[in-house]
Amino acid sequence: MTLNANADPATRITIEGTGMPIRGDDIDTDRIIPARYLKLVTFDDLGSYAFYDARFDEKGAEKAHPFNDKRYGDAAVLVVNKNFGCGSSREHAPQSLMRSGTRVIIGESFAEIFAGNCAALGIPTVTAPYEVIEKLHEAIESDPGLRIRVDLKQKRVDAGDRSFALEIPATFRSSLLSGTWDTTSALLERIDAIRAVHDRLPYIGG
């Protein structure tokens, strides 16, 4: 997997790797990371629990799931359908995906809090219409070793010899391209303006 084709490790311009198809609309964050794994005060160990209850039955036996499919073992590119990540705001969901190798998610649409959490972690959530997602799903399923390259600058995904256009919110794209998705320092740069708003709000200072 190549994270960045460019020299600056803080930016996300191209992401390349193999893909994993996760089919279905409305896959919620309880499914991505069951609540019992939220009882950890750090995110460090979450990688092994992604989609846990969809992957294992109550006796711990493996169920059919792309995350259990060894052909997709090193996937960096998740390809999903509509409203992926709906439900709870738990950042544990994208954390568990990131810590199990996900570097970019291509989908028809994303729940907003989930997409915001991904943005904060530097994981692009890019969108494409159903027809493109279906073609990507089929291409990956028939050739799990297929190299997929997401180019955020050109807003395209290349899968083998095919190439498709992608959408990504302008704000998110610009922060990934400039390496400024880690927002705290950018927010604190305007400390005087923050204090000014604080002081003028009617329910605080004004």
């Binding site: 279905g24 609309d25 409305d26 919620d28 309880d30 499914r31 069951p34 609540a35 019992r36 939220l38 009882k39 950890l40 005060v41 750090t42 995110f43 209850d53 039955d57 109550e58 509509k82 409203n83 709906c86 439900g87 709870s88 705001s89 738990r90 950042e91 994208p94 649409s109 994303f110 729940a111 907003e112 809090i113 915001g116 959490n117 904060a120 972690l121 919110p169 302008a170 704000t171 998110f172 610009s174 922060s175 400039s178 400024t180 927002t183 705290t184 950018a186 927010l187 604190l188 305007r190 400390i191 303006a193 923050i194 708003v197 604080h198 709000l201 009617p202 329910y203 605080i204």
Partner: protein, 466 residues
């Protein structure tokens, strides 16, 4: 052209534009709880940052709290560690904490309005998707993730893009036995669980304006289940009357000045909206969400869909719902046997919810095949219910009467479904595994409907029991 409330409040809190093009938004009230905050404090400390305005953040504990006994240390060592981490963090950073030993502990979205921390015209953030609840008082309230909690702690601001605003008008009168829970389930069933992506919802119309504040909180609570990160209701006399005298609102003349300001924040009569949806209140029945998303819902007199009749784009989701629930296509939802009845959660655990459920339960017995529990949303709700002897009504009917917490809504505490149990639940999500058992099944409904189902042993039309 006038402005809607959302844009008025947003503009007041806008600090500037970030290099990414997003707005930097000042957060007037930050609420935290034990589950999503410890990593954020870790990030702050790793970077040697301070909490910028510790007096703008308030903490409580709700998700992991056992509801049978709040005795420390908790039996579960992970929960105890999480609790201790929060206690340490609030102490180190000077944050006001409504812990178990205080009289104000409770579910974060119950205590915010209850204490008057939540006020019209505020921007509110919390690491929990049901933060949309607070919009009922005319605030912009959004759920955020842990990295964003770090940002709010460090800068009291967030980077965000302004959503569009959809006006949802519910005119008419809801019938007896129909509640605000049914209104919001109807909205989600009508628009779907994805329609709100990119939107904030403004709820208005005569059926909304006649709701009391607690019922309004239920509506806004489930905005996120329709995909909308925020939902709100314009402040009016109900809002002002609700807030008067609460601990964190101004008192005396200052309150009257604040109230005048709050009322001025309501959307202007000529305000612009991205679009509008209208739903007739008198057509709304008591609702039941039967599937694996809150949008898979129907009126209690209805039948489950037949797959062949479901719209093509919904078919895969409905098929998955049948696969998980093992319910029969086309069968009536009324009469579906239940094993567990849960009255609680940030959606429906306020005093008015408990009163309505108690009205149904009074003088009756929970079915011998049902395990039923009532979990007040806060210590204040619990105390009020006990003053009104509602606890006695519930206990006499065979319900368990518990301590305040999130309980069986999300199963991060000992209250869980097991195996294939079917739960009638006043909570907000029927996702697979949500209530703690991967095979468990959740039917979402109003607290009164849950009480009716508990007594009948199966889904029942509460209108026949009033």
């Amino acid at each position: 052209m006038g402005k809607n409330l959302f844009d008025k409040v947003w503009d007041t809190h806008r600090v500037g534009t970030l290099p990414s093009g997003e707005d930097q938004l000042f957060i007037g009230l930050h609420l935290i709880h034990e589950v999503t905050s410890p990593q954020a404090f870790g990030m702050i400390e790793d970077r040697n940052l301070k909490v910028l305005y510790p007096e703008r953040t308030f903490a409580t504990v709700d998700h992991i709290v056992p509801t049978k006994s709040q005795q420390r240390p908790f039996a579960d060592p992970l929960s105890e560690e999480m609790m201790s981490a929060l206690e340490t963090n609030v102490r180190n950073h000077g944050i006001r904490f409504f812990g178990l030993e205080t009289e104000h502990q409770g579910i974060v979205h119950i205590i915010g309005p209850e204490l008057g921390l939540t006020q019209p015209g505020m921007t509110i953030a919390c690491g929990d998707s049901h933060t949309s609840t607070h919009g009922a008082l005319g605030a912009i309230a959004i759920g955020i993730g842990t990295t964003q909690i770090r940002d709010v702690l460090a800068s009291q601001t967030l980077g965000m893009s302004r959503p569009k605003v959809r006006r949802i008008t519910i005119d008419g009168e809801i019938g007896n036995g129909v509640y605000s829970k049914d209104i919001i389930l109807k909205i989600i069933e009508t628009l779907g669980v994805k329609a709100g992506i990119g939107y904030a919802y403004e709820y208005r119309g005569s059926a909304i304006e006649t709701l009391d504040m607690e019922a309004r909180l239920t509506v806004c609570n489930m905005s996120i289940e329709g995909g909308a990160r925020a939902g709100y209701i314009n402040p009016d006399s109900v809002t002002v009357d609700y807030l008067r005298g609460r601990p964190f609102v101004p008192q005396g003349e200052e309150f009257e000045r604040a109230a005048t300001h709050w009322l001025s924040l309501a959307s202007d009569p000529d305000a612009e909206f991205a679009d509008e949806v209208k739903i007739a209140a008198d057509e709304i029945e008591p609702m039941v969400a039967w599937g694996i998303t809150p949008g898979q819902a129907l009126g209690v007199t209805g039948n489950l869909p037949k797959l062949s009749e479901v719209a093509k784009e919904e078919r895969e989701g409905v098929a998955k719902a049948f696969e998980h629930t093992s319910f029969r296509e086309g069968s009536s939802i009324a009469g579906t046997d239940i094993d567990v009845a849960f009255i609680g959660s940030c959606t429906n655990s306020r005093i008015t919810d408990l009163r309505e459920a108690a009205r149904i339960a009074e003088g009756k017995r929970v079915s011998s095949t049902v395990k039923a529990l009532v979990v007040p949303g806060s210590k204040q709700v619990k105390a009020q219910a006990e003053r009104e002897h509602l606890d006695e009504i519930f206990i006499a009917a065979g319900f368990e009467w518990r301590e305040a917490g999130c309980s069986m809504c999300l199963a991060m505490n000992p209250d869980k479904l097991s195996g294939r149990e079917v739960s009638a639940s006043s909570s907000n999500r029927n996702f697979i595994g949500r209530q703690g058992s991967p095979g468990g099944r959740t039917l979402l409904m109003s607290p009164a409907m849950v009480a009716a189902a508990a007594i009948k042993g199966s889904v029942a039309d509460v209108r026949e029991m009033i």
